[in-house]
Amino acid sequence: MSVETGGSSAAQSATQEVISPPLASAPAAAAGLPPDAGAPAELIQLLTPEGERVEHPGYPLDISAGELRGLYRDLVLVRRMDTEAIALQRQGELGLWASLLGQEAAQIGSGRALRPRDMAFPTYREHGVAWCRGVDPLKLLELFRGVSHGGWDPAEHNFHLYTIVIGNQTLHATGYAMGIQRDGATGDGGEAVIAYFGDGAISQGDVNEAFVWASVFNAPVVFFCQNNQWAISEPIERQSRIPLYQRARGFGFPGVRVDGNDVLACLAVTRAALQAAREGQGPTLIEAFTYRMGAHTTTDDPTRYRLAGELEAWKLRDPIERVKAYLVRSGAADASFLDDVEAEAGRLGAWLREACRAMPDPSPLSAFEHIYAGPHPIVDAERQAYAGYLDSFDDGASTPVPNVAAERPAVPQARGTGGFERSGEA
């Protein structure tokens, strides 16, 4: 890929240079995008769709063979998790699933750029980021099965609850980042926040307010927008007449567009933006240019609003295939490694199926728990009344179902940082 300083980057102010290095200016075709995707020239890429490693002067990336293999494993396993979840929904085991198909690189790349103490605020589609943060995949299934509203402890994983109302979490992320500032937890060894959202969310008031807040308070937050081209049925053209990353400029902070199907570029760009945030240079908007290869959720039917050819074109830019090609070509992995990952994915899938089906419904009376910090006369009275009502039947329906965890086979876990952590962390 030819790299030159683009005209738009030259227009960026000097204060933005540290965070926003000169952007690549390459023809869309060379950048690996379908000509009809509306992709302008500026796109940061470190691994082409053909699996060719390219350098970018603004984002040097030293990555070992082991780290590469780790990324590949992450990508394959989260795709498998996703595939299984869709199947479980089709079988009636989940009420809904929001597929991440096609967005694995954006999520694994950015997720692996996080340090343990960094905080992530996801939408409802960040299964790959959840994986990187060590959240039990079953917890994700719990939510979509209707067993809980999430239920993991955000503080344990530094991964907030899924947020379903579009864009709300960007403000929470910004406020959290303001807390980091007040705690003095900034600097090289400090903390940063990442807020995930999609192209549809860019139109939400909350996202724009979060941009204002983060900008004027110089908050250590990275806005990571996965532009997957579609907000259910609405194409990106319905949200914006300019590339999304350019929105940042109007708010006074840098924006960059990265090839969202390139896990290395997503890793490098996010890592740089997080570090800039830690070092007091304020927010960055990262637009991960990607594609929602599946439906919006399992209730959606994309054939009603988009052409099959578009998907076919994007399949040539698959986020996993290019890593596989590079691993093999560079000799970083051999066939047995690839086979091992496939086998591990199979085990993960089998475990998810089994554990999901074994997941018990919560007790009906658990609906009355965790609403207030302490006793509440009205909630408590209703709980008591409903328990009495249930007890009036003979089938013991009010007896809380024992919360028996499913038998778990050896589980592939994503704990740790996948080897991408730099020094400076406790």
Binding site: W152, P154, N168, L171, E209, A210, A373
Partner: protein, 327 residues
């Protein structure tokens, strides 16, 4: 005891909270250098710094949304919504996020955020400055909703709200901001009357008159007037609108057999409707008349030149008392 306006009592309470807990923050529009449009946060930024008393951009959803993030980080933000009618841009963050986070997280996350809202009419304001939106919030599980009526209690109530581990919507009767009372500024919030408890502010034997916020003063005047007609009216300041202190309310109604509820908000779907239903359920055999409601009309808040007709006054309250006894 110090003679203070309600505004100064709230200011003193906020100051005490800032002194007591370094995690307490104040945030809102114009709360810093200006001290708020009602001066409730007067001089607090000067004394506690811009990091703790934050002049925010003008976006209410942003105020509440970032307060949630700060609370997730361990802070206890106190947000000021400048006027009642301006809370609605933040409604989504309050109802979908603030209220539900503990539940959604299976109890893992607490959001000790206070949202102060000057509410109610009677100051001749332009539209959207005289609303009483409390019922929207009382309807939402996960929130506590309280209303102070005067300075002596407001001083400790605001501190209790800040100490509470639940989100609290804290309504302040703006037309009472300038009314003076003796306030014990050495009072301990921990030892004060509980935040979720109603309080009998005038004892009586014949009728229970329930009020909160700006209407407590009117209710007390009505009780005094009724006394001249040899009717003994008990006035209860509800203080907490969610949860409702039904124990205190029902105990009173069982004694008096009559109940009138008053608020500035429209009667349809208002707190009075909920109270009437509950009093009917709990005190059915003691009631000698239906529970009556005296509130704002089921109209938008009118232009201020006729707001005196909209706001329940002494005479409308006495009229309801008469109707209750004449049933």
């Amino acid at each position: 005891m110090t003679t203070l306006t309600l505004a100064r009592a709230l200011n003193a309470g906020l100051r005490r909270a800032l002194e007591d807990d370094p995690k307490v923050l104040i945030m809102g529009e114009d709360v810093g250098k200006l001290g708020g449009v009602f001066r409730i946060t007067d001089e607090l930024q000067k004394d506690f710094g811009e990091s703790r008393v934050i002049d925010t951009p003008l976006a209410e959803s942003g105020i509440v949304g970032t307060a949630i993030g700060l609370a997730l980080r361990g802070y206890r933000p106190v947000c000021e919504i400048q006027f009642d009618g301006f809370v609605f841009p933040a409604f989504n963050q309050i109802v979908n996020q603030l209220a539900k986070m503990r539940y959604r997280s299976s109890g893992n996350v607490a959001l000790p955020v206070v949202i102060r809202i000057p509410f109610g009419g009677g100051i001749g304001a332009v539209e959207h400055h005289s609303e009483s939106p409390e019922a929207y919030f009382a309807h939402t599980a996960g929130l506590r909703v309280v209303a102070c009526s005067g300075g002596p209690e407001a001083f400790t109530m605001i501190q209790q709200a800040i100490r509470c581990d639940d989100p609290v919507i804290f309504f302040e009767p703006k037309r009472r901001y300038w009314e003076k009372a003796d306030v014990d500024t050495t009072a301990s919030a921990a030892a004060a009357w509980p935040l979720d408890a109603a309080r009998i502010v005038a004892e009586g034997t014949d009728l229970t008159l329930l009020a909160y916020g700006p209407m407590v003063k009117v209710a007390l005047a009505a009780a005094a007037a009724a006394r001249e007609d040899s009717r003994s009216v008990e006035v209860i300041d509800l203080r907490s609108l969610s949860p409702l202190d039904m124990k205190t309310i029902s105990a009173s109604v069982r004694r008096t057999g009559h109940c009138v509820v008053t608020h500035e908000a429209p009667v349809f779907g208002g707190l009075g409707a909920e109270i009437a239903a509950r009093v009917t359920e709990e005190c059915f055999y003691c009631l000698e008349a239906p529970v009556l409601r005296v509130g704002g009309f089921s109209t938008p808040y009118p232009p201020s030149r006729i707001e005196d007709h909209y706001l329940p006054d002494l005479d409308r309250m006495l009229d309801a008392v008469d109707r209750a006894f004449g049933f």
